[in-house]
Amino acid sequence: MPTILSIKNLRKAYEDGFEALKDVSLDIEEGEIIALLGPNGAGKTTLISTVCGITMPTAGSVSVAGHDILQDYRAARSLIGLVPQEIALEPFENVINTVRFSRGLFGKPRKDGVVEDILRRLSLWDKRDNEIRALSGGMKRRVLIAKALAHEPRVLFLDEPTAGVDVELRKDMWEIVDQLRADGVTTVLTTHYIEEAEAIADRVGVISKGEILLVEDKVKLMARMGRKQLDVQLTQPLSEIPKALQAYDLTLGDDGWTLTYSYDTKGERTGITKLLTELAGTGLQLRDVVTRQSSLEDIFVSLVREDEKEAS
């Protein structure tokens, strides 16, 4: 797949000296869905704002389909659609005019068919003549998406699209993103819901403190970083790990009620058989045995923690 968005050594320092982005480089391929994960204040919104032209980069370059966002901003920006994090809409205008306005603003001739199609897809067609202020929060978010799609962009930025949105709408959003992918639209979304990245993204990038810690294929990332844990729940609490089991990487938790064993699913030997045999040998009574797969969330938390440790 060709690269549609190329970010090179991007830096952004605000006037007060705060460095929101430190040397960010990232290539995004055409047609993919990439999720940028990061805690609040990591620089996700600054990254999007800089690419979209809302803030000016301090150093570095960004190009969209080969068009530089500064030198060739008209061509670059006309390929981009942005759904901002906060709901920002003209309250007194109706839905269809607001969407038409966006299309015009991006230099596209009026095409009622295109606007109708977008509104229908977002279940907004019946509300087209309603004033924005009369819409529910979820509907307003849909209008924001409709506005971002009005000029048929090739790259769509969704800045925390499902923050404060109910479950149903979240599922709808994911479906919309999926449909857009079928049309060949590249989607970059920021989120702090790991579940969201896990559900829809092809690739995951982790940002913390203005730096990209990693960008990787979601499945590969989970396989590489994914460890499994085996919890052995006991009928009687232990005060310490029995001597016979000290060779294993065990932790005693839950006030001595649970022994946890971490292992790599991809290792040739997981060591489970031997551990369980020796466990039986100690005469401990087991109540239950549970295994858990670490989620993207665990991976994310451990990455950000590592980064913070290094920083301090």
């Binding site: 006037e15 901003y73 920006r77 006309s78 920002a88 005019n97 299309r103 015009g104 603003l105 596209k108």
Partner: protein
């Protein structure tokens, strides 16, 4: 040049005007009618003629200017401040448009609105006083220039303002006094000599005088000076807008 964007902004802004038709249309008509009744009929009956023109007719150009100037400023400043306030400015900043197109859209719409109101007042005036316009083309040219330059000025205020309070500050503290003291309701020659001299420092005097000349062929200051004054004001506003455009002042961090 992204003309489609200019049109989009213009149409969107004009839609706001028509949504609030009562407010944008009836209120200037009503207030100017009140001026005609109070100044024209009540007070004007005691004032014979000013520079050979009946007082009722004499105040028409000043009244139009008064409304047009304040309307241009408030329309344009609100037009660009409101997107900043509610956050929709993000779309203007991320669109493939330059600052020039933003200015043309917003200032164009604001100037059109006040132009429209100015003409409405003129029509209203015909119902109250006996009026003829000596140089209609010059009158129109003055009206357009005033609408555009004050809309530009309002646009700058809107970009600058960080709160609704600030948005009102300059119009209230500077523009309104200047306009009232600029000879809207009197001729500068009616003032004592000292105040005549002081008035010469008020730029609005030149605009009202020029506009009045287009109606009656009489003026406080030579017409060339009036033209120069409005040209200079427009140039100043354009330069300020150009500087904002270059630096992204108060718009783009």
């Amino acid at each position: 040049m992204n003309w489609s964007a200019v049109r989009a902004i213009y149409v969107f802004e004009m839609a706001r005007f028509f949504r609030t038709l009562a407010q944008s249309f009836i209120s200037p008509v009503l207030s100017s009618s009140l001026y005609f009744v109070v100044f024209g009929a009540a007070i004007g009956s005691r004032i014979d003629e000013v520079e050979g023109v009946g007082y009722g007719a004499f105040i028409v150009p000043g009244l139009i200017m008064l409304t047009v100037m304040t309307q241009s400023i408030s329309n344009a400043s609100f037009g660009i401040y409101f997107p900043k306030f509610i956050g929709t400015i993000y779309e203007l900043l991320s669109a493939p448009i330059s600052f020039l197109e933003i200015v043309m859209g917003y200032v164009g719409a604001a100037a059109t609105k006040s132009m429209f109101i100015g003409i409405i007042i003129l029509i209203t005036a015909f119902f109250f006083v006996d009026l003829q316009i000596e140089y209609p083309l010059a009158m129109l040219a003055f009206l357009v220039l005033t609408c555009v330059s004050f809309a530009l000025f309002g646009f700058i205020i809107g970009i600058w303002a960080g709160s609704f309070e600030q948005l009102q500050l300059i119009p209230l503290l500077i523009v309104t006094p200047l306009v009232f003291l600029g000879g809207s309701f009197y001729s500068i020659s009616m003032l004592p000599p000292v105040w005549q001299t002081i008035s010469m420092f008020n730029p609005v005097v030149y605009l009202i005088s020029g506009f009045r000349w287009a109606f009656f062929g009489v003026a406080d200051v030579p017409i060339a000076v009036s033209l120069l004054a409005i040209g200079a004001f427009t140039g100043l506003c354009l330069a300020a807008v150009g500087w904002i455009f270059k630096t992204g002042w108060r718009i783009r961090q």
